[in-house]
Structures are given as structure tokens and as C-alpha cells.
Amino acid sequence: MLKVNAINSFYGKAHVLRNLSFNVPKGHVVALLGRNGAGKSTTMKSIMQLVRPSSGEITFKDEDIVRLPSHQIARLGLGYVPEDRRIFTDLTVIENLLVGWQSPREGAVTWTQEMLFDLFPNLAERRNNRGKALSGGEQQMLTIARTLMGNPSFVLLDEPSEGVAPVIIEQMIKVIGQLKSEGLTVLLSEQNLHFAQAVADSTVIIESGVKMFDGTLETLNSKPEIRDAYLAA
């Protein structure tokens, strides 16, 4: 569904992604793993064209999305959940959801606010609170819910487990399972191997922007040397 082919991305002169290629098949959950600074978030941003890759191809549903403006990519059904959450702190929970709203899309679940409040019961109680009043875990839920309001068929989830309590992580695992059962495709970036193992079908491991491994979790588990070399303990 998403094909990334030999992309190179830079911040100024710093070469961050080097000839990175991988595929995410429809209906799969793929975990993008790597240490701090490996380039996971940059990969996500490059797909959204928030960072413009200097070369390489990215296709989504066989459509070339390189150089498209970000809002058009989002309108193709590619939802982006950023790592630092970036919720609108001055807006209420409901208003945050409203920003993410897009018209229903064929072949994807049409989310309503009530469905999202069922998925994230904590948010329901805080629907009229401003973003800045939420806890870290609630903000993380809000940023996912906000993206789902756009009825995506594919979600880029950048480190949903970062800086949230273990209970919330368990809840996130459930949510991702639920999304998958609804037919959504997910590219998930993670450092938390436990989290990835609980939800992913396959993994891509990168280190300094170079792909080191691409395969199923079983294969990864059978090669502990790769795990030890490229993932934090």
C-alpha cells in the first residue's frame, strides 16, 4: 500500500536518511525500529513531505506522493500522528478533533466523535477541557483520535509509547489491535521492542538512516545479534 524506494533526506547538510526502501502491505502493522536519532521520525516526516526527500520515490496506493503538499497527502487517506503529539493546547478536546475532521472516505472507517470517545474513554470525560490541561497519556490519545477523525486508511504512528505510563501503553496496544481489525494499515515507529512485538506483523530496523533489517518478528527473534546491535537494551 505504501512503497518507499531509495529516499535520501537531509537537515541542512546533515544526511539523515540514506537510500532507505521498504514496503508496507495493506492491512499490516509494520514497526519501524531503531535507536534514538536513527531517523525514524524523519522517515515519517519524509512520507508526509514535511521534510522533502532530495531523491527517491514514495508511492501511496500506487500514486506518487513526493512533492505533493502535506494536506493533499493527508487527503489521500494517510494519517500522521507526530511524535511530540503537537496537539493544539489552546483548543478544547472537541475542537482538536474538529481540526482533524475530513469527509468520509471510501474503503475506510468513518469515525465519529462518539466512536472515538468509546475507543478512548478518558477523553470523553475531558471533552471540554483545553489541550494544555490534559495529562501526557491523554494528550497522546488525543493526537491519535484527532488523526482518526480524518478517516485515514493508513496511519503513521510515531512513537506512541514515548513518555506515557505502562497502563496507557497497554491501552495503546489494544487500540492498535482494534484499528488493525478494522482494516487499517499502520506504520509504527518504536524503541520499545515489547510494544512492537505486541502489535506488529513485521519490522524494519534502521540505524543512522540505513536499513539494517527487514522481516517478520519471528525472523528477528531468531537473530538476537541484530536485536542487540541496533536496538537499545
Binding site: Y11, G12, K13, M48, L50, V51, P69, S70, H71, A74, R75, Y80, P82, R86, F88, T89, D90, L91, E95, N96, L98, V99, G100, W101, Q102, R146, T147, G150
Partner: protein, 618 residues
């Protein structure tokens, strides 16, 4: 008591158009981060267009429809400006868009002159609202009462739009994080255009609504600019309730000042602003600015290197050429070259602050005009010998800059820029209104150099010496440890401080020094012309310098100088034509769109590209 109430009512009525214009500006800034200096011009257009409609549409219905039509038309003009001028430069470095809006000011000034003529237009009275109503015995014009009703209605409508509709939610979200809004599938470009159109329409509405109180003239654009910026800054950039409260405070205070202390009217609002910002640095309802929050990272800054041997040779050749000038040209070109040199020094002093220090001052004319006035005042009032006055002028300007910088440097970004503008306006108002000492609008005259410096050639050499010397000194300091510390403070305050640099002190010194050099330019100026008028302290003068620095190129040291030569040269040619502002404005807009790195920066890029192609061929 009765009188008091009447005063407050008048103040509230005056707040009406000020609020409309200010909240338009505030909305635009909040979403697009563009400080739209052309906002005053849109207000002026609103007045002219409203007037024109009122001439053809009769009666009360005609009057009110004219006001609405004026708002609509200016909204459409705003949309055009945004799409044609601003869209191509959103990707340009921060604040570069400013220069484009300066260009728009010039273009609109001449278009207004061409279309509506040079005469001031007396605003028509609102039909059916001619007389007064007595409130507790005091006469209040009926139109004032009407305004009192209209403003809250407009404010409430806006409030509804902003808080209760999805578009309003998007606007508020974009005010906080534009990139995220776009990643969620919202087309930013249309959001920007829409907000710019709405903001412009509000300015146009404000201009048309004040017609019965003020009429329409070609100076309205600059006259409204200062109060509007003051209101927006006091209220907090991007906050509508803040803009309303601030407009009311300023207008009511102003009405009282007119009654009790007429000399203070212009100064007062700046004092209020300074007091408010000292207590609440981001205005009454403003949010702290986080510069570069989630921004895209630009190209890395190339280190400023000492000039290469070839550049040094070129510069020496140029200086030699200038030194030989009296031998091969007529004296009028010497006078012109003197002007250019002085202007270059002025621009270079701002470049030092802006390019090296990253401190965008909107009010650098304060030090240029300030230096000129220090010298002129000393000569006029205490018969100071010219030589002494000439030396004391930059000192005075430098000390003023240190004092002003000390207050302004508590703030950053746009707030810093606005505060510097406020101080410049404060100085201007002082000079303008304190006629006994400063001569007010008539300026100070007969400020000539001493006998031995009087001949054009001698004064030319004096100027050459101080301007070239000053520019070389600025360059030299850029490469000194002080210059490096200043750049370190600009690029990363935190990192600079962790290496033991006292960034605030460094920036303050730089501010003072830039003021000193600006004052030197001012001193050279006043003795070359023999007189000085308040317009040397005006916003327009500060803008001149800003345009030059941005057009020349912020990132290159030669920028200020190249921009100065280019700007003065073009101005000298164009000013002979009746509609030179139009041409100049268009030229500025073109340079901004075609050469977003400034003239020098773009030339260098072009040269590099050529070199690259050449080396590939080889």
C-alpha cells in the same frame, strides 16, 4: 461627572475603527506570522472606496451599503495582494515578507493618488445621524452613539466566527501550529488567503466607518499604522479581546489627553505601550512567542569569512575611485554621492544589528534622526561649535540606544521589533509636538558646518572618511571576538550562554554601537543639508533602512552597502517621475519574489551556480 462620561463615550466611539483595523492585523499575524505593514494602506483604501460609493448611492441605505461595499472591496484587494505578492514569498526567510508589504504600501499610495487625486476628501455625514444626543446634558454626536453599537456587533460576530465555527477553530489551530494543521489535511494556502482577505476587509470597514469623523487623505496609511501597532502589541499579537481592550484604553486616554494635556497626545500611547510591555512582555492577552517552533530548518548559515584578496582589491579600488571623484565629476554628483555614502553608513549600522545580531529593529531611524537632532539642538540652543556637536551627536544617539535597548532586549522577535518601533515613534512625537525646543514640524535650520569644512569638496572628504571608516569598523568588529559572540547569541542563546557568553550584555552593546553609528550618519546628514525635520525620525525612514538591508541581503556583510547604493541610485532616477512610488514599490516586490536572498546573496548564488556548471564542463 457628566463631562467625564461624555469623554468616555467619545473615546469608545473613536476606538471603533481602531479596533477594526487592529483586529484585522492581529488575525493576519496570528495565522500567517506576517507583520503586514500595508495594513494602514488597506484602511486608507477603505476610506476612499467608501467615499466613492457614497457619492453614487443615495440616502441612509446608500451610506451603509457603501461602508459594507468598501469592506468587501478591500477584502478582495487583500486576497489579490496575498495571492500575487505574499504567496510566492512564504518560503523566504522570516521577516522577508515584511519588505514585500513595504512595496505594497508604495504601490497603493500611488494608485490612490492616481485614482482619487491629491486633495483631502471631507467625509460625508451619515444621513439621519447628523445631530447630537444629550447624555446627562452633554452633547454627543449621534454617529458616535451608532459606532458604540456597531463595534460590539462586529466584535461579537467575529467572536462567533472564531470560537464557534470550524473555520474559526482552524484559524486558532493554525495560529499555534500551521504545519500540523496542514498535515491533518487542511489546505494552508486557502486558510492564509481567507484570513488575509478577512483581515483586509476589517481594515477597509474601519476606514469607511470613520469617514464622517475624519474623511480620507493620502497620509492616512502611515498615520493609522503607529496606533494600530500599539493596540495590537498592547493587546497581545493575535488576541481579539486584547485588541478591543487596548483600542478602548488608547482611545479613551487620548480623548482625555486632548482635553487636559494636548501636547501629549502622540506620546501618550507609546508610554502606555512601554508600561504595559514592561509589566506583561507579551501584551495583555498575548502568548509567549516560541521562535522557530516546529519550523522547517533552512540551509545552514555560511560562516562569514574575512574578505578574500580579490574582494579586498575590489573594495580598495572602489574607495580609490570615490576618493578621486572630485577630480572628474561636477559638484552636484558629489552632493549625491555624499547622500549615498551617508545612507550606506546608516544601512550598514542596521545591518550590523540585524544580520549579525539577529535583532530586527523597526525603529532604527530613532538613532539616525536622533543623532541629527542632537547636533542640531546643540548648535541651535547652546551655540556648540560644529566640530564638538558633530562628535557629541553619535554619542547621544549611542546612549539613547543603550537606554532603549536595555528596555527592548527583555523581549524577542516581533515584540522586540514593535517595541523598538514604539520608541522611535516616541522620539518622533516628542520632536513633533515639543515645538518650542525642536521647532516641531518646521524643523531646525541653519545647522551648517564650520567655515573650513563648508566647501562641497571638503565636506565630501569628511563624509567619505567617516562613512568608509565606519563601514570598515563595522566589518572589523564583525570578525572580532565580539562579532563572533554576537552571532553565537543570535544562533543559539542557550549554547552561547553555556560557553560563558553574557548574551544580553553582548546584544545590548551591539544595540548601543549600532545606534552610535546610526547617529554618526545622522550627524553627517544634518551638516550636509544644514537642517533637519521630524521626518528623519519617521517610520518611513526606519523602513528605508530595513528595505535596503533586506534587499541587499541580510546574510552578507556587503548587503547593507550594496542595498544602500542600489536603493539611493534607483530613487534618484525614479524620483524625477511623478509616480515613482509605484515603480519603486513594484521593483521592491519583484526583487523580493525573484531574489529572496537579497541582491548580494542571490548574485553570489548565481555566481556559484555558474562556477559549478563551468567546473562540470572542465
Amino acid at each position: 461627572m457628566e463631562f467625564f462620561v461624555a469623554q468616555i463615550i467619545t473615546g469608545l466611539a473613536n476606538a471603533s475603527s481602531l479596533f477594526l483595523v487592529a483586529c484585522g492585523l492581529s488575525l493576519i499575524f496570528g495565522v500567517t506570522r506576517i507583520v503586514n505593514f500595508a495594513h494602514g494602506s488597506l484602511y486608507m483604501l477603505g476610506a476612499y472606496i467608501g467615499y466613492t460609493f457614497m457619492q453614487v448611492l443615495p440616502g441612509g441605505l446608500g451610506f451603509w451599503s457603501s461602508i459594507l461595499l468598501a469592506g468587501l472591496s478591500v477584502g478582495v484587494i487583500g486576497v489579490l495582494v496575498e495571492m500575487l505578492v505574499l504567496r510566492p514569498v512564504y518560503k523566504a526567510p522570516e521577516l522577508f515578507q515584511l519588505v514585500a508589504t513595504f512595496g505594497v504600501i508604495l504601490v497603493i499610495q500611488d494608485i490612490a493618488l492616481i485614482v482619487f487625486g491629491p486633495e483631502d476628501l471631507l467625509g460625508p455625514r451619515a444621513p439621519g445621524l447628523r445631530g447630537v444626543i444629550r447624555v446627562m446634558g452633554e452633547p454627543i454626536p449621534k454617529y458616535d452613539i451608532t459606532l458604540l453599537v456597531i463595534t460590539p456587533i462586529v466584535a461579537l460576530t467575529l467572536w462567533y466566527l472564531i470560537t464557534q465555527t470550524r473555520v474559526g477553530v482552524l484559524v486558532r489551530a493554525a495560529t499555534q501550529d500551521r504545519e500540523m494543521v496542514s498535515a491533518l489535511g487542511v489546505n494552508q494556502a486557502w486558510l492564509f488567503t481567507g484570513v488575509f482577505g478577512l483581515g483586509s476587509a476589517l481594515a477597509g470597514l474601519g476606514g469607511a466607518l470613520q469617514l464622517p469623523k475624519g474623511g480620507a487623505d493620502l497620509l492616512m496609511d502611515f498615520h493609522i499604522l503607529a496606533p494600530v501597532f500599539v493596540v495590537v502589541v498592547i493587546g497581545g499579537m493575535g488576541s481579539l479581546p486584547g485588541a478591543y481592550l487596548a483600542a478602548v484604553i488608547i482611545s479613551v486616554l487620548n480623548v482625555f489627553a486632548v482635553t487636559y494635556l494636548p501636547q501629549s497626545t502622540l506620546v501618550l500611547m507609546f508610554i502606555v505601550m512601554i508600561v504595559v510591555l514592561t509589566i506583561r512582555p507579551y501584551g495583555l492577552f498575548g502568548r509567549e512567542e516560541v521562535a522557530g517552533e516546529h519550523g522547517q530548518v533552512g540551509e545552514p548559515e555560511r560562516p562569514i569569512k574575512p574578505a578574500s584578496a580579490r574582494m579586498q582589491l575590489l573594495a580598495s579600488g572602489l574607495i580609490l575611485l570615490l576618493a578621486m571623484m572630485p577630480f572628474y565629476t561636477a559638484s552636484f554628483s558629489l552632493v549625491f554621492t555624499t547622500d549615498v555614502l551617508i545612507f550606506c553608513l546608516f544601512a550598514a549600522s542596521l545591518h550590523f544589528l540585524l544580520g549579525l545580531g539577529g535583532l530586527v529593529s523597526f525603529g532604527h531611524a530613532a538613532y539616525y534622526g536622533g543623532g541629527a537632532y542632537v547636533a542640531a539642538l546643540l548648535v541651535t540652543h547652546v551655540n556648540t561649535p560644529m566640530e564638538l556637536a558633530f562628535l557629541l551627536a553619535p554619542l547621544g544617539a549611542g546612549i539613547a540606544a543603550l537606554a532603549i535597548g536595555w528596555v527592548c532586549l527583555r523581549l524577542t522577535g516581533v515584540y522586540f521589533a514593535m517595541l523598538t518601533l514604539a520608541f522611535a515613534q516616541l522620539l518622533w512625537s516628542l520632536v513633533f509636538q515639543w515645538g518650542e525646543v525642536t521647532g516641531g514640524d518646521d524643523g531646525l535650520v541653519n545647522i551648517w558646518p564650520s567655515e573650513w569644512l563648508k566647501p562641497t569638496i571638503i565636506y565630501y572628504y569628511l563624509t567619505l572618511l567617516f562613512c568608509v571608516g565606519g563601514i570598515l569598523l563595522l566589518r572589523h568588529i564583525a570578525h572580532s571576538p565580539f562579532g563572533y559572540a554576537l552571532r553565537a547569541a543570535r544562533d543559539s542563546q542557550r549554547q552561547a550562554e553555556s560557553t560563558g557568553i553574557d548574551t544580553r550584555k553582548i546584544q545590548l552593546l551591539a544595540f548601543g554601537f549600532a545606534g552610535f553609528m546610526g547617529g554618526l550618519a545622522g550627524a553627517l546628514f544634518v551638516f550636509s543639508k544644514g537642517s533637519v525635520f521630524p521626518n528623519e525620525l519617521e517610520i518611513a525612514r526606519s523602513f528605508d533602512a530595513l528595505i535596503v538591508v533586506f534587499l541587499g541581503g541580510v546574510k552578507t556583510l556587503a548587503g547593507g552597502v550594496a542595498g544602500g547604493v542600489f536603493f539611493k541610485g534607483i530613487e534618484d532616477i525614479l524620483i524625477k517621475f511623478e509616480y515613482w512610488r509605484l515603480v519603486m514599490g513594484l521593483l521592491i516586490i519583484f526583487v523580493v519574489i525573484l531574489a529572496p536572498e537579497g541582491i548580494v546573496g542571490s548574485l553570489r548564488k548565481g555566481a556559484e551556480r555558474l562556477n559549478l556548471i563551468k567546473s562540470r564542463h572542465m
